[in-house]
C-alpha cells in the first residue's frame, strides 16, 4: 500500500491545481478570448505549467536537500510552516499577487504562475507526501512493505524528487489543458458563475491538516 499512494496523491494534487481557475486555465482562456485564438490558449498553458513547476520544484528541492543532510528538525519545521501558512490563508483569504495584467508574454506568465502557485502553497502541500515516499528513488514497481514504516522517513533521491515534480506538473497540465479547451470551445465562461466554488477555506484547513499529518506519517 505504502508504495503507490504517495504517487497517486502527488498526481491528485496536480489535478486539483489544474481544475482551480485561479491557478491558470482561466488566464489561458481569457487570453485566448481576447485574441480570438485557440492557439493562444495552448500557448499560454506552457509558461503557466513551467511557472507552477518551478514553484513546486523549489520546495521539493529544498526538502530533498534537507533530507539528504539528515536535518533532524525537518519534520517539525515543515509541519510548522504548513500549519502557519494554513493559518495565514485562513486569516487573509483575499491575499493575492497584485502584479500582472492582460498583455502578458511568456516570461510574465511564467512568473505569474510561479507566484500564484507559491502563494497558494502548492509545493508545501507535497511535504507530508515527500516524507512518506520510501527511501531510494522512483515509484516502486509494486508494494513490498510488510508494515507501514514509522517516522522518521529517510531520504529523497534526485530521481525521486524529479519524479514527484514531473508527476505533479503533468497531472496539472493535463487537467488544466482539458478544462481550458473545454471551456473555450464548448462550455463558455458562464460556468464560472456557478462552478467557481470557494475552496480557500478548505484548502487552508487542508494545509493545517497536512502539517499535522506530516508529524505522524
Amino acid at each position: 500500500m505504502n508504495g503507490a499512494w504517495p504517487w497517486l496523491a502527488v498526481a491528485m494534487l496536480g489535478a486539483y491545481h489544474g481544475v482551480d481557475p485561479s491557478m491558470g486555465w482561466l488566464f489561458a482562456v481569457g487570453l485566448g478570448l481576447q485574441d480570438r485564438s485557440r492557439k493562444r490558449v495552448f500557448a499560454a498553458l506552457v509558461p503557466i505549467a513551467i511557472g507552477h513547476l518551478l514553484s513546486v520544484a523549489a520546495v521539493v528541492a529544498l526538502i530533498a536537500a534537507a533530507m539528504g543532510r539528515g536535518f533532524i528538525w525537518l519534520r517539525p519545521l515543515g509541519a510548522l510552516i504548513l500549519i502557519g501558512f494554513g493559518v495565514f490563508r485562513l486569516r487573509r483569504p483575499l491575499a493575492h499577487p497584485r502584479w500582472v495584467a492582460m498583455r502578458v508574454g511568456f516570461g510574465d506568465l511564467t512568473l505569474w504562475s510561479f507566484l500564484m502557485a507559491t502563494a497558494h502553497g502548492a509545493g508545501l502541500m507535497l511535504f507530508p507526501i515527500l516524507m512518506a515516499i520510501p527511501a531510494g528513488g522512483a515509484p516502486p514497481p509494486m508494494p513490498h512493505h510488510h508494515m507501514p514504516m514509522p517516522p522518521p522517513a529517510g531520504h529523497l533521491g534526485p530521481l525521486a524528487a524529479a519524479a514527484v515534480i514531473a508527476v505533479h506538473t503533468s497531472a496539472m497540465l493535463l487537467v488544466m489543458g482539458s478544462v481550458a479547451i473545454a471551456v473555450y470551445e464548448w462550455i463558455g465562461l458562464k460556468i464560472l458563475r456557478s462552478a467557481w466554488i470557494n475552496l480557500d477555506t478548505i484548502w487552508a484547513v487542508a494545509l493545517i491538516a497536512a502539517g499535522l499529518l506530516s508529524l505522524v506519517i
Binding site: S22, L33, V100, L189, R193, I197, N198, T201
Partner: protein
C-alpha cells in the same frame, strides 16, 4: 465575508451582465446646496421594482454624519472585474458603497448587505488620511478594479494640482497611496477608467479645486485654462504614455466611457463647451496599428435664445450652450447617450460603428430656457444631467443637478432636484416614463448606482 460561490452580480462578460435580472433598487446621493441650514447630505434608496407598491419612491435614507460634504459620484467595493484571471478574488461581495464628499474629501463607506433599503455607515476615510497617504484631495470617481479600488481626485489638499488617482485596498479600505509612478505632463484631473484588455488607463481634465469650487470662472474659460486634454496611461506600469490635446478652445473634458467589451479598443469622452461657438462635442479615442489616436465624432451646437431668458453668466452669448456634462454607453456598446445640462436634452446615438455615430432621437427635460416638462410635475428646472443605464440597456435613470457652485451659474433660481426614467424599447426608441418621477425638496440628486451593477460600474476581462 467570503462567499461559497462568486457574487451573483459578477459577470464574466458584458453580454452576460446584460442578461442578468432587472434592478429592484437604486442608490442615489443627494446633497444639500446650502450647508448653513445644517441639513446633512444623504445616500438615498429608490425603489425601482415595478411590482412594488413604493415603485419610483425613495424608500431609504442614510445620512452623512457631517454637513457640507457635497456627495457627488460613488461606487461599489467590488464588481465583475473581480473575475479577471490575473488577480481573481471572485468570492468577495458587491456590498459596500464608497461615497466621497467632493468638497469635504471624506469617503463614507456604507454597507448595503444587512438591509439593502437601509445602508449603514461602517467607516469614514478622513480627508487628512487621503492627503497624508496619497497627496490628493477632492475624491471623485470610484472604480472597482481587479487588484484594488481606484479613486480619481481633482487636486491636492491645498486646492491646487495635480489631480490624479489613488488606490484603496479592496479588503480593508486603507488608502494605499498615489497610483501614478510617472505622470508625465498630466496636471489636471477628473475622470479615470481603463481598457482591461489592453492594460491602458485613460484620464480626463476638469480643473483643480481652486479652479472649480467657486463656480465656473469665465476668465479661465476664455483663456483656455480649464482641461482640454485626454491622457493615456500604462495601467500596469502606472506610467503616462501619451497626451491628446483637443485645442484650448475645447474646454472641460469630463466623462470617460470606454467600450465594455474588453477586446474593443475605443471609447468616448465629452467636451463640455467650445469657447468658439458654445457647442459641446464628443470625441472618440481608439487604437489603430498599435498606436492610440483621437477624433471628434459628435458636435452639438448651441441653441439661439432670447437674452432676457438667460442667466447673467451667458446672457451676452444670446444662445443656450448644450453643456454636455455626462455621457453614458450601454453595456452592449450599441447606444451612446449625451446629457445636455444646458438645453435639457437627452440625446441618443447609435454607435454600432463608433467612428460614425448616428443620431437617433432626443428627450428633453428641463433646460435653461425650455424648462421642458414632465407629465407628473409640469415645467422642470435644472436639466438632464447624470445618467445611469440599466445593464440590459432598457432603462435610463436621469437626475438634474451638476455641481453646487456650477448649478448656480446656469440655474440661478436654484435647481429643484428630481429623478425620472426614460425607457428604451426593443427597437432602441426612447420614451419618457410618464409615471416615474421622484422629486426632492431642498436637496439635489447626482449620481445613481443600480443594485447589482449598471453600465458605468463594472468592467470585464472577457468578451
Amino acid at each position: 465575508m467570503a462567499l461559497w460561490k462568486p457574487d451573483p452580480s459578477f459577470y464574466p462578460s458584458p453580454r452576460m451582465a446584460a442578461e442578468g435580472p432587472r434592478e429592484k433598487l437604486a442608490y442615489v446621493v443627494v446633497f444639500n446646496p446650502d450647508p448653513s441650514n445644517g441639513r446633512h447630505d444623504a445616500l438615498c434608496v429608490l425603489d425601482t421594482d415595478p411590482q412594488s407598491s413604493s415603485y419610483g419612491k425613495i424608500v431609504g435614507r442614510a445620512e452623512a454624519p457631517n454637513v457640507g460634504d457635497e456627495l457627488h459620484h460613488f461606487g461599489w467595493n467590488a464588481c465583475s472585474a473581480a473575475l479577471c484571471p490575473y488577480a481573481p478574488h471572485p468570492h468577495v461581495e458587491r456590498r459596500y458603497l464608497l461615497v466621497p464628499g467632493l468638497r469635504s474629501s471624506r469617503i463614507y463607506i456604507f454597507d448595503t448587505k444587512p438591509d439593502p433599503r437601509s445602508p449603514k455607515l461602517i467607516k469614514t476615510i478622513e480627508a487628512a488620511e487621503i492627503a497624508a497617504r496619497s497627496g490628493y484631495s477632492r475624491p471623485h470617481t470610484i472604480h472597482c478594479g481587479p487588484d484594488a479600488i481606484y479613486v480619481s481626485a481633482l487636486g491636492a489638499a491645498d486646492g491646487g494640482g495635480p489631480g490624479g488617482v489613488f488606490l484603496l485596498d479592496h479588503d480593508s479600505f486603507d488608502v494605499l497611496g498615489r497610483w501614478e509612478v510617472d505622470r508625465g505632463p498630466q496636471y489636471l484631473g477628473y475622470d479615470f477608467w481603463w481598457h482591461l484588455g489592453y492594460d491602458v488607463a485613460i484620464t480626463s481634465e476638469w480643473g483643480t479645486p481652486n479652479m472649480v469650487e467657486n463656480g465656473p470662472d469665465l476668465d479661465l474659460l476664455t483663456q483656455g485654462k480649464y482641461g482640454h486634454q485626454l491622457h493615456l496611461w500604462d495601467l500596469r506600469r502606472r506610467r503616462h504614455l501619451k497626451a491628446f490635446d483637443f485645442g484650448p478652445d475645447q474646454q472641460i473634458v469630463l466623462e470617460l466611457r470606454p467600450a465594455h467589451d474588453p477586446t474593443k479598443a475605443y471609447g468616448f469622452v465629452c467636451v463640455t463647451v467650445s469657447t468658439k461657438d458654445l457647442s459641446s462635442s464628443i470625441w472618440m479615442w481608439y487604437r489603430e496599428g498599435g498606436d492610440w489616436n483621437i477624433r471628434k465624432v459628435i458636435e452639438i451646437p448651441a441653441e439661439p435664445a432670447d437674452p432676457a431668458l438667460l442667466p447673467p453668466a451667458i446672457k451676452g452669448f444670446k444662445a443656450v450652450p448644450p453643456l454636455v456634462t455626462e455621457i453614458a454607453l450601454s453595456t452592449d456598446d450599441r447606444y451612446l447617450y449625451a446629457a445636455c445640462f444646458g438645453t435639457g436634452d437627452l440625446r441618443q446615438y447609435d454607435v454600432t460603428d463608433p467612428f460614425n455615430p448616428k443620431f437617433k432621437g432626443a428627450v428633453r427635460l428641463g433646460g435653461i430656457v425650455s424648462h421642458a416638462p414632465h407629465p407628473k410635475a409640469g415645467a422642470l428646472n435644472g436639466g438632464t444631467q447624470m445618467l445611469e443605464i440599466s445593464r440590459d440597456g432598457r432603462r435610463i435613470y436621469v437626475t438634474n443637478s451638476l455641481y453646487g457652485p456650477w448649478d448656480k451659474a446656469f440655474y440661478p433660481e436654484g435647481v429643484r432636484g428630481w429623478i425620472t426614467l426614460v425607457n428604451v424599447g426593443a427597437d432602441g426608441a426612447m420614451t419618457l416614463d410618464p409615471d416615474f418621477f421622484a422629486p426632492f425638496s431642498g436637496e439635489r440628486p447626482h449620481q445613481m448606482r443600480l443594485e447589482g451593477g449598471d453600465s458605468s460600474s463594472d468592467s470585464y476581462c472577457y468578451p
